[in-house]
């Protein structure tokens, strides 16, 4: 038996139920359209990667109850141009940033709660507004609003394929409780996320090493909708290996480890690979840039794993970790427990210690404490690793989201390979984030992209369906 919501074609069919999908659904519904959302997760895991987020980066001209100061569109633009290294659709980026100004107000109208800027807000208190309780609480509010507005949602329903006639969406093939159903609708909004949970697809970009990646978010993001659209002749943007990835604890679960698995001690550590060799300047720059680059660095090491080693002097200087560190009174003992070549690691650390120059250590900013005569150099926070007990954290690459997606314009219309927009298909969120994020990331941008393009997609789809 198909769910009753599948029987009657809706004005707007929304694939996904995260922030972008909700932004579209609520906007379309408020314009009077009938809306059906298809969510592959069950109620506990609903909301895709949005359930793991914490904040939204949006432009604002002044401090509010939720941000400590102005973050003008121009500064936002400069930040995104820097992290993407210009690898973006500049016009679309500017448009998104300017449109992001009312994101927080719009979310508050939908019942979403923000918290005042607090101590633990990671230096983002000015630029980003933090959801009270984080992304899952935000999603709970969204779902409450959907319920009130009379938006139909079917959980545990996975879109297997998108059926098109030329550039027109006709129906989605949806698997629900083991059965395949054909769900028709007048328009569709694609907000089903990326494909980071699809290791086979990641291998197309990364090769077999992708087997060793951990997925920080939803196991549901397998990219079936994206794949189906590409097969139907939609135009892609970005490349398969571009994604946001960070170094996380190697003991984290394969999926859904979220924020707590990050390892924050890299700058105070010596990072070795399993052969016991260092491979990059651990003290290069301040967080969060280094946080973002270490995922890729680790992915290039043997077995895609590395080990951050600190001594007792550094304990307590960084965010506590979800897994306790591996501990030993000797470096050899630690190497053995970590599974690192012990003689090499001992030599690496001895060489590093010999290269450490005197200086005034300061945990909170680049302090110039560096090494000399050691390759690679450590530029800041270089202190001898000499005070037992020694601690080690295994780190692996944790992939957060992918950038290969569908090309869209300012109206969130999906383009076909003939460079013409599809007739009744819009996209929002991670599935089109690659238009703006060709590479790199600045925390909270994904939420702004999802909300801005979600609302546009919802509005466009509702208007189209009702004409």
């Amino acid at each position: 038996m198909p769910p009753t919501a599948f029987l009657e074609p809706h004005d707007v069919l929304i694939l996904g139920a995260g922030n972008a999908a909700m932004s579209a659904a609520i906007t379309a519904r408020k314009m009077g359209a009938s809306v059906l959302m298809i969510e592959s997760a069950d109620k506990d895991l609903r909301g895709g990667n949005s359930r793991h987020v914490r904040n939204i980066r949006y432009s604002h001209n002044a401090a509010t109850d939720y941000v400590t100061g102005a973050y003008e569109a121009s500064e936002y633009m400069t930040d995104l141009m820097r992290v993407t290294d210009g690898n973006t659709n500049e016009e679309l980026m500017r448009f998104m940033i300017e449109a992001s100004e009312d994101c927080a107000d719009w979310m508050i109208e939908q019942g979403i709660k923000f918290q005042p800027p607090l101590s633990g807000t990671l230096g983002l208190a000015r630029t980003n507004a933090f959801f009270l309780g984080g992304g899952k609480a935000m999603m709970n509010s969204y779902f409450k609003t959907c319920e009130k507005l009379g938006i139909d949602i079917v959980f545990e329903a996975e879109v297997e394929d998108v059926e098109m006639e030329g550039s027109k969406f006709v129906a989605a093939q949806v698997r629900h409780k083991g059965e395949l159903h054909r769900v028709e609708a007048r328009t569709v909004v694609l907000a089903s996320g990326g494909f980071e949970a699809n290791i086979e697809w990641l291998k197309e970009g990364w090769g077999d090493i992708a087997e060793n990646f951990l997925v920080r978010g939803s196991p549901m993001n397998t990219g079936k909708v994206l794949r189906s659209m590409l097969n139907n002749g939609a135009k892609s943007v970005g490349v398969p290996e571009q994604c946001h990835a960070v170094a996380i604890d190697g003991r984290a679960p394969q999926f859904d480890g979220g924020i707590s698995t990050r390892v924050d001690c890299v700058i105070f550590s010596v990072v070795v690979n399993k052969n016991g060799d260092r491979f990059y300047d651990e003290g290069e720059d301040i967080w969060p840039k280094r946080y973002a680059i270490w995922g890729r660095l680790v992915a290039k090491q043997p077995d895609q794993v590395a080990y951050a080693v600190i001594d007792s002097k550094s304990m307590g200087l960084f965010m506590p970790t979800v897994y306790s560190p591996i501990q030993s009174d000797t470096l050899a003992g630690l190497a053995e427990q970590l599974g690192v070549d012990a003689p090499t690691m001992e030599k690496t650390i001895a060489d590093y210690n010999a290269g450490v120059q005197p200086g005034d250590f300061n945990a909170t900013e680049p302090d110039g404490c560096h090494t000399e005569g050691v390759e690679p150099k450590k530029s800041n926070w270089a202190r001898k690793i000499d005070t037992p007990p020694y601690y080690g954290y295994p780190v692996k690459m944790g992939i957060t989201f992918t950038y290969l997606g569908l090309e869209v314009n300012k109206r969130a219309q999906v383009f076909m390979n003939d460079d013409k927009p599809a007739q009744n298909i819009w996209a929002a969120g991670e599935i089109m984030a690659g238009n703006i994020l060709g590479q790199g990331y600045a925390g909270g941008t994904g939420m702004a992209i999802g909300n801005v393009f979600g609302r546009i997609a919802g509005e466009e789809a509702a208007r189209h369906a009702r004409n």
Partner: protein, 366 residues
């Protein structure tokens, strides 16, 4: 100290929470947590008692079951609090009253009410108890003033002593210094936070009830209950002063200070406890320790009945039912005092202790 298993689970969860910190906006627990890198038995005991059970962090938790991390802070802390109440009970022989507490409290209160009422009838006779009295000292024609004072004040003073001993044990275990308890700024801040029930505010939007919905309902019901109780207590205190200092015996005029305070308090107890009972019944059991519901329900009924019999006594004090109502009310109040250190009332003691500790930690940091 509570069970090792419960403490270990609380420590496991706090290590996860401390690496996440998304919930820092909800209450005092998470800011207090972030001051610590590791969690010992005392730390989690303190944090558990700082938790007001608003449940915001449960619904917001990306690691709540079915996630493999299985984080459930409100349930774990509720369980730990329950064990705190039992383990700090003094004298230790009464710890077992916390096992199946609801039944014990009900039994003690009913027994005392029956005994007080029965003795009143037995000693005074039906005619005296059923008499209609007016004016000064009419209550004491049924039960002599001294009897009321001795019978009620003995268990009350004992309860204060038991609270104090329990609090000092708790205070020592959470690693605080005795004098910190009297730190003036910390004490003021803690009393303010308790008076406002700030942390039932869940970051400004209330507790999560009956599911992930934000609601001020629980905070409002709790305020009626707490302030209702405190007003009744104030009414009794003022009346005591009237009696001993000014030599004015009860009953007092309807617009006198004790009667106004008592009436407002009684109304609070008619509204608050049923509200909390309803919330408890409707709310999602997942973030709660449902094994403690017996204790909670008994306590709420006890407060409700105290208010109800008190108001009934006021309303019917010039009728032949006064004697019966006085005996019943006195029996229930006696039951309440006797069970104070061995029932839900103790939550107020440890919660206030935890709030003082929290205020003190923040004060010292500045």
């Amino acid at each position: 100290m509570p069970e090792t298993e419960t403490l270990d689970e609380a420590k496991r969860i706090m290590q996860i929470c401390n690496a996440c910190r998304y919930c820092e906006g909800y209450c005092a627990v998470f800011p207090a947590m972030t001051k610590r890198l590791n969690f010992n038995d005392g730390d989690v005991t303190y944090l558990a008692n700082l938790c007001h059970g608003c449940q915001g962090c449960y619904y917001a938790c990306q690691y709540a079951p079915p996630h493999e991390f299985a984080v459930n802070v409100p349930k774990t802390f509720a369980k730990l609090r329950g064990e705190t109440y039992r383990d700090y009970a003094w004298p230790g022989i009464f710890k077992k009253l916390f096992e199946g507490n609801g039944k014990w409290v009900a039994l003690i209160v009913v027994a005392l009410t029956v005994i007080v009422t029965g003795l009143t009838y037995a000693i005074q006779g039906v005619d005296v108890v059923s008499g209609v009295y007016k004016g000064e000292g009419s209550f004491y024609k049924v039960i002599p003033h001294d009897v009321i004072v001795y019978v009620a004040s003995a268990p009350f003073l004992f309860a204060i002593l038991a609270f104090f001993v329990g609090l000092m044990k708790f205070w020592k275990d959470i690693g605080a210094k005795p004098m910190d308890l009297l730190h003036p700024r910390a004490l003021t801040k803690a009393l303010k936070d308790a008076g406002q029930m700030k942390y039932m505010g869940g970051g400004g939007h209330g507790c999560n009830y009956p599911d992930d919905n934000y609601s001020m309902g629980r905070r409002v019901a709790h305020q009626f209950t707490m302030w209702g109780f405190l007003l009744c207590f104030a009414a009794t205190s003022v009346a005591t002063v009237y009696h001993y200092v000014f030599g004015w015996p009860a009953p007092y005029d309807y617009f006198s200070v004790p009667v106004v305070l008592g009436t407002l308090g009684g109304i609070g107890l008619l509204i608050g406890p049923p509200g909390l009972l309803m919330i408890k019944k409707k709310a999602d059991p997942e973030p709660q320790d449902t094994k403690q519901h017996g204790m909670d329900i008994a306590f709420l009924w006890l407060l409700f009945l105290t208010g109800l019999t008190g108001l009934a006594l006021l309303a019917l004090r010039e009728t032949s039912l006064m004697g019966l109502l006085l005996a019943v009310h006195l029996g229930i109040v006696l039951g309440m005092f006797v069970t104070f250190p061995y029932g839900k009332m103790v939550h107020a003691v440890y919660r206030l202790g935890a709030l003082i500790r929290f205020a003190h930690e923040n004060d010292v940091k500045k």
